[in-house]
């Protein structure tokens, strides 16, 4: 099939839409390959706006890994905003890739990375614009295979109907294996059609084919069982784990967009996984075990990436960056090396203690000390024990005082509301904490001109975490608690005026919760919302709560369940969870025990510093946590994330 560029059709539409540059590609380090010379062609999608999707590390890594293969072509596509979508429909322009403006429907594979479930409606827009049938069953050999990846793929059941496959866990290796299967199948004349291709993909570890499993339900609405309908697929699909990050130094050539994006910097992932065991954190649970990139490997990636991109800032990414066993050497080494070069360092997601203030001071050596971010997550000591965020109020105050004493002027604190067992009192203690921060800060800095901003998100229980059984709090309760909190903060005006409070309403979180822990019965809800105009649900200006509520009422009631059933209902130990047949490595009994510990506020140590507590990941991977061999200074058990902002 001859595939030509759609740009001539798209070009006249672009002057009529907002920020047209996001649709034209032309990024530095983008790869454009000859269509006809490629044996396997991937379209990679991040189902959100270009400005959000472009910096996504997962897509960037796979894009480069695939394009390094001489006979593989990978291009990227993003969600188009409604203004362009309307024009594309009017002028019959299909979903396109940004490099060469090729129609997504002409590719062999469409890989979609889901960081959040709120991108599901955007998947349907892209499929529909691409001319790909929404239902996987309706697709033929002429349509791409639609494969989901990313964290949300650990429970892809709500979108199972729209997917041919999901890839669980790290993608670097499995994406090449999938490519190999498709290459081989095509080279032999596509024997057995699409069905045979899917059967061959089933043989790959980490590839889940929803269509090969049947789900039945009990009269009370719970899942009766999930059984495979072919013995070509395993009973449980285990995630993939890339063990040696130094062997995968991607992205080597970071994409640099012409358009402005949400992260104007290059990123180096310094380790994967996390052993802190915060019970709300899906990322920390599903990416175990910890695998560190070596200091040398990090240095090489920074050097190469800066030279290739011209970026002026490097982010050292991970789930808890100060936990890298060589973080002191790494930050000092990089700060020394790039001193005077106008290159900034940022260290997102780090913990809070004096050691971290040292790190923050180091990376801001010549910069403005504007603000630091800490994430205590819970307002009271008690609730922090429930969520296993091991930090005491004294630690926090000491850390904040050190920061203000070192010249930092603003502290941002992240919290969650609606946590399991939470009461009004737990949330109101956020106000006491903020007041203490201001008082301590004024004393340490000798200035009244300091700020504390508290930023609050509603808690969403996620699959593969100890809180997967928890009842999600209703948004009305969350909103009410936050109103009381605001009043409490302002009860002392002299201090309250230095405290800012930011929160979004809790309704999108309830829908995120619905989609996170939902099952296949939600497919109809998602499709109905989408047909009624649902797009960009992660954006408050596009999200419509009422549309979701109405769609749930219409589509779930006939199936004997409801929005509340999926969200605010606590699950029992024996309930079959929709993702039980997907193996993140965590032992379900361990998760349950950890959930029970949470309910009585019993903490769980970090296995990086303490003996193994049998979460199940390492044995199932045949591995162990991998940290550097430098003598680690366990700088204390009471640690918190920290992030310098405004760097």
């Amino acid at each position: 099939m001859a595939v030509t560029s759609l740009f001539e059709q798209l070009e006249p539409l672009l002057p009529r839409v907002a920020k047209p540059v996001q649709y034209v590609g032309g990024e530095l380090n983008a790869t454009v390959k000859d269509w006809d010379a490629a044996a396997v062609r991937w379209a990679l999608m991040y189902p959100d706006a270009y400005e959000v999707g472009l910096p996504n590390q997962g897509i960037m890594i796979l894009y480069e890994v695939l394009n390094e293969q001489p006979d593989v072509l990978a291009e990227r596509t993003y969600a188009v905003w409604p203004d362009l979508e309307a024009l594309m429909r009017q002028h019959r322009v299909p979903q396109f890739t940004v490099e060469s403006h090729r129609p997504v429907g002409a590719f062999d594979l469409l890989g979609v990375s889901f960081a959040t479930e709120l991108g599901y409606t955007n998947l349907l827009t892209a499929l529909d614009l691409a001319g790909i049938p929404l239902s996987a069953r309706a697709r033929t050999e002429d349509h791409p295979l639609v494969i989901a990846g990313g964290h949300a793929a650990f429970n892809p059941e709500p979108i199972a109907e729209f997917l041919d496959a999901a890839a669980l866990g790290d993608g670097e290796q499995v994406v090449l294996e999938i490519t190999g299967v498709v290459r081989d199948w095509k080279a032999h004349g596509c024997p057995g059609g699409r069905r045979e291709l899917l059967g061959r993909l089933a043989a790959l570890d980490g590839v889940y084919l929803p269509g090969c499993y049947d789900v039945s339900y009990r009269p009370d609405g719970q899942i009766a069982e999930v059984v495979r309908n072919t013995d070509r697929v395993p009973q449980r699909v285990a995630k993939r784990t890339t063990m040696d990050l130094d062997e995968w130094p991607y992205p080597k050539q970071p994409l640099v967009p012409i358009a402005e994006s949400v992260h104007e910097r290059m990123s180096v992932e310094i380790f994967r996984g996390c052993t802190r065991g915060c019970r709300f954190c899906q990322a920390g649970m599903i990416t175990r075990p910890v695998r560190e990139r070596s200091a040398r490997g990090i240095g090489q990636m920074v050097e190469r990436g800066l030279a290739a991109s011209g970026f002026t800032e490097v982010g050292l990414l991970s789930l808890s960056s100060a936990d890298h066993s060589e973080i002191r050497e790494i930050t000092k080494g990089l700060a020394d090396r790039y001193e005077g070069s106008g290159t900034g360092l940022s260290l997102p997601s780090t913990r809070v203690d004096a050691f971290n203030i040292d790190l923050a001071n180091e990376i801001s050596r010549n910069g403005r000390r504007s603000g630091l971010t800490f994430a205590p997550e819970g307002g009271s000591e008690r609730i922090r024990q429930v969520i296993n965020k091991m930090v005491s109020e004294e630690d926090l105050i000491r850390t904040v005082s050190t920061a203000f004493g070192a010249g930092w002027r603003q502290v941002k604190l992240y919290f969650m509301c609606g946590l399991p067992t939470e009461t009004d009192e737990d949330v109101l203690q956020i106000a006491q904490l903020a007041h203490r921060v201001i008082r301590a800060g004024r004393q340490a800095s000798g200035s009244k001109d300091i700020r504390c901003t508290i930023s609050i998100g509603a808690f969403v229980p996620k699959p593969h975490t100890p809180f997967q059984w928890a009842a999600q709090e209703h948004p009305d309760v969350v909103d009410q608690r936050l109103r009381k909190l605001r009043t409490e903060i302002n009860s002392d005006r002299k201090i309250g005026r230095n405290v800012g409070m930011r929160y979004h309403d809790g309704k999108p979180a309830l829908i995120e919760g619905l989609l996170s822990r939902g099952d296949r019965r939600l497919g109809r809800v998602i499709e109905r919302v989408w047909r009624e105009g649902g797009r960009f649900d992660g954006w408050s200006e596009h999200f419509r709560y009422e549309r979701w509520v109405a769609a749930c009422a219409a589509e779930l009631a006939p199936q004997g369940v409801s929005l509340e059933w999926f969200t605010t209902r606590e699950r029992t130990r024996d309930e079959v969870l929709p993702w039980d047949h997907l193996d993140s490595g965590l032992d379900k009994d361990w998760l349950w025990d950890d959930w029970q510990d949470a309910l009585v506020g019993r903490e769980q140590d970090d296995c990086r510093w303490t003996p193994c507590f049998d979460c199940g990941v390492c044995p199932s991977m045949g591995t162990d946590i991998q940290v550097g061999d430098t003598q680690v200074e366990p700088s204390g058990r009471h640690l918190l994330p920290l992030r310098p902002v405004g760097q």
Binding site: E11, P15, P20, V24, G26, G310, G340, G342
Partner: protein
Amino acid sequence: MSLHPSAAPVCRVRLRYAKRGKLRFASHRDVARAFERAVRRAGLPMAYSQGYSPHPKVSWVGAAPTGAASEAEYAEIQLVEHVDPEVVRAALDAALPDGLAVLEGVLASPGGLAERIEASAWRIEVHGLGSEQLRQAAHLLLAAPTLYVERVTKDGRRSLDVRAAIVSLDIDASLDIDALEIECCPTALPVPDQPSRCGILKAVVRQVSPAVRPDDVLSALGAVAGLPSSVLVKAIRIAQGRLDDDGGLVDPLAADRVFARTALAPDRWAPGRLGPR
């Protein structure tokens, strides 16, 4: 790569660059960001501003609007070492993404670059209108004493006198219209049921504030001649400069070229010191 935050600039290089193809949809902010990254990748010994977040010293002159292509954009950069302007041009050109091309680099002579730019020459491809219709509309517009159109700017709705800004306006007579009608009309029509026609205008427009852009010229033509709504396909800035007595444009870098030939010996350059370090 090293940066000289405290070093004083020792030379200024003026650049003419082009914004082409798909990158015509880049805004000026997008272009400026791309330049900042390119000077770092190219390893140019840029002068940097002082303060907490130093930026390379680049001055911009009247950037083309988002959506407009240009063969004649100008910028001036400040360096802390003497470098052959041609080496600067080539290094920057290689480091910029496709679609941004540095066409010329000259050492700055005394006098500001902005003062040498008074007007722009535009080539405006108009889809959906034939040459004859456009010619008549242009005639009517030129005959009008004033012609106001409205545009939404960042300061709200503004009324612009397009006629006052126009120096000259005609069908591009240097081009074979029949041939171009074929060339510039996409195979798939952007608007169904609209005749496949295309005319090309050449306009010289003064730089006024707020700027009169090619789409404003098109709106004015539509208003004065009662034309059916047409779609602007593409506008390309061909040249910028001061107006001469005949309504032509004087190349703003001409004075610098003369200055370079007379005032400086080539051995002051330090060639071959550039490139990624």
